[in-house]
Amino acid sequence: MNKKGFLSIVLHSHLPFVKHPEEEFFLEENWLYEAISESYLPLYIAFTNLKEKGTKFQITMSMTPPLVLMLQDNLLLKRFNRYLKNRIELLKEEFSSTVKGEIKELFKFYYDRYQDLYRVFNDELKGDLIYGFGELFNEGLLELITCSATHEILPLEINEKIKEVQVYLGVETFIKAFGREPRGIWLAECAYTQGIDRILSKHGIKFTILDTHGILYADMPPVYGVSAPIISESGVAFFGRDPESSKQVWSALEGYPGDFNYREFYRDIDYDLPEELIKKYLHPAGFRFDSGIKLHKITGKVPLNKKEPYDRNKAMEMVETHAGNFMFNRELEAKYLLGIIDREPIMLAPFDAELFGHWWFEGPDFLESVLNKVYNFSNVIETINPYDYLVKYPVNQISEPSTSSWGDGGYFKVWLNEGTDWIYPYLHVMGQEMITLAKKYKNPTLLEKRLLNQMSRELLLAESSDWAFLISVGTAVNYATNMEKFHINAFYTLEQELNNKKINLNFLEYLEEKDSIFPFIDYNIFK
């Protein structure tokens, strides 16, 4: 039976490159460990469950170069295993203690869950999530796409060459990790402006995703709205976010994740634990921070101390209800759209991957249930990835997308404002200097070459949009400000050493170990 429309779910997986070999425990490194244990591994498990049941599905996932390279970093992976083991030990001690009733059961639930995560990560995947996702990619279930090198907001980058380096490294990192070229790219924060399509086309990118208004405000108004892609003159397809599909998951008011039966994010056991247990299992200095173990449900609009114990069975019932509701609404939407346009519409729903599992604990179960229901029960819709939709409908409207992002307000004020605009002059000048140095040093000595490669890494890390984002939203402001300044100062310190022909090898080696992103980089890409 011919279906009436296509659902295309896109998950954007990204974290800034954070690695601190100089400290044994570094709080911000936990961002990665939380994301692996709460989102990436549960998502992998959900996709694998579907595969094992013979469910055919299509889902798209971007994996940014910083994330890919952190998932391949030995030090970080070793520390991730320690993170898991510590939680397993803590949970074992807690549920073996005198605690009774629902709380004891919840400790047992988490204990089993972490044991399972540890087993999947170490026994099944041998510590290699990239391999795991790569297998699903090769089997045609998961469409993996890349991202710009360090998640830079390309419309805020002045140097054309740097924009190109960002895309080139995104493609190169992807090829090295997954063994083939990416067909699509996730532009950091869906940020687009005129001319970026030419760079994408040059590097073999076939499609990308923009927010709704990036398509609706295109230079030739789109006949199909966001129910079909538009293509630019340089041969790149642009898919727009379908707000109807997105808001049920994103919206604070109408969204599923706010259901009172789901797990409460903000009440973590760490804040209730005695100091000796924190020191023993979580942080030797006794710092209190989220452990990932949360025993309560949202309950309602009540203070954290009034939250009721989490009921896993009830939460899973809600997952089924919400997944069914999501599918039903997409079916209605597809039928309606097919009535007003002359082709089967695509309903593209992009999300941050970390929403599923980390923020919305039951998110991976919800996705598994949606994909399962659509394959087994829907006569109206099926799942698709953007590339396959292009194969199905190769003729599309030619139009230049509008400058836009998916950030608050739809443009760039999140990254460019009074609190962050000091960053951009440095990025501009550093980029210019890197291009000049790449042209100047045609036959460097071994050490000069290593130094120039490290300067490239420091520049790229300074270009990460994450630092400006964190400063603007008021999360980890000091850390983000310090890291931005660190990369700028490291770049200039190295440049000074190069100019003075006085290279501090200790310092260089230290930076090489700490800011070890793009181990294969060659500064000549800036020529």
Binding site: V236, I340, D342, Q397, I398, P425, L446, L505, N506, E512
Partner: protein, 207 residues
């Protein structure tokens, strides 16, 4: 990437030994060179101190003259500049914004440095320049790249072009298609625009 000394050849090790000022390095065997280099390394404490300094303040001024023009939001651009005025006759200058061939803004400024957010017409391509007047003519000191000012609404054009991407040639083959916009879709697009604005960039409803 950090390389192991053991994997380096003697010439490379000699370069490193030179950095550490290791005496008699040319007389040493490879193993002795490696030992001497490892001994010459600074303790971690010292490196940590360097790192702390790197997190400190950055130089107020960059090392080069620059002028940035960046898009912020519909009808708003950010302009920022820094110029070494040592060789110039004056520090009293003008900031000009040009859209196409039309001058759209002319503000008196200090040439040496400045920044600001400027309102301009949506959707146009603009370029900025800093300079000064000399004998009635504007003399450019520094200029920016062109940017497109973000647009906050849909265009009312009706032109339709269709094509198919040839992924091998990375080109678009033009096609003739009879599809035209329908009234229902135009209504739907207005609804989409309204709905899209409701989606805030949040990761989770915060307490």
């Amino acid at each position: 990437m950090r390389e192991k000394y053991e994997d380096m050849n003697k010439k490379e090790l000699l370069q490193i030994a030179k950095v550490y000022g290791i005496k008699d390095r040319h007389k040493m065997k490879k193993e002795d060179l490696i030992k001497a280099i490892k001994k010459g390394k600074k303790p971690l404490k010292e490196i940590k101190k360097i790192e702390e300094n790197l997190k400190g303040e950055i130089k107020k001024k960059t090392l080069q003259d620059h002028l940035e023009l960046l898009p912020k939001e519909p009808g708003v651009v950010f302009v920022n500049w820094q110029v070494d005025t040592a060789g110039l006759e004056t520090n009293e200058g003008e900031l000009k914004l040009v859209g196409g061939k039309k001058e759209i803004l002319d503000l008196p400024v200090k040439i040496s440095e400045g920044k600001g957010y400027i309102k301009v017409e949506e959707g146009i391509t603009v370029k900025a320049a800093i300079g000064f007047k000399k004998r009635g003519h504007f003399k450019t000191v520094i200029s920016s790249e062109s940017i497109v000012v973000p647009r906050g609404s849909a265009l009312k054009k009706t032109e339709l072009k269709w094509g198919k991407i040839d992924f091998k040639k990375r080109k678009v083959e033009k096609k003739t298609v009879t599809t035209k916009p329908t009234k229902e879709m135009e209504k739907e697009k207005k609804k989409l625009e309204k709905e899209a604005k409701k989606i805030k960039y949040i990761r989770y409803p915060k307490e």
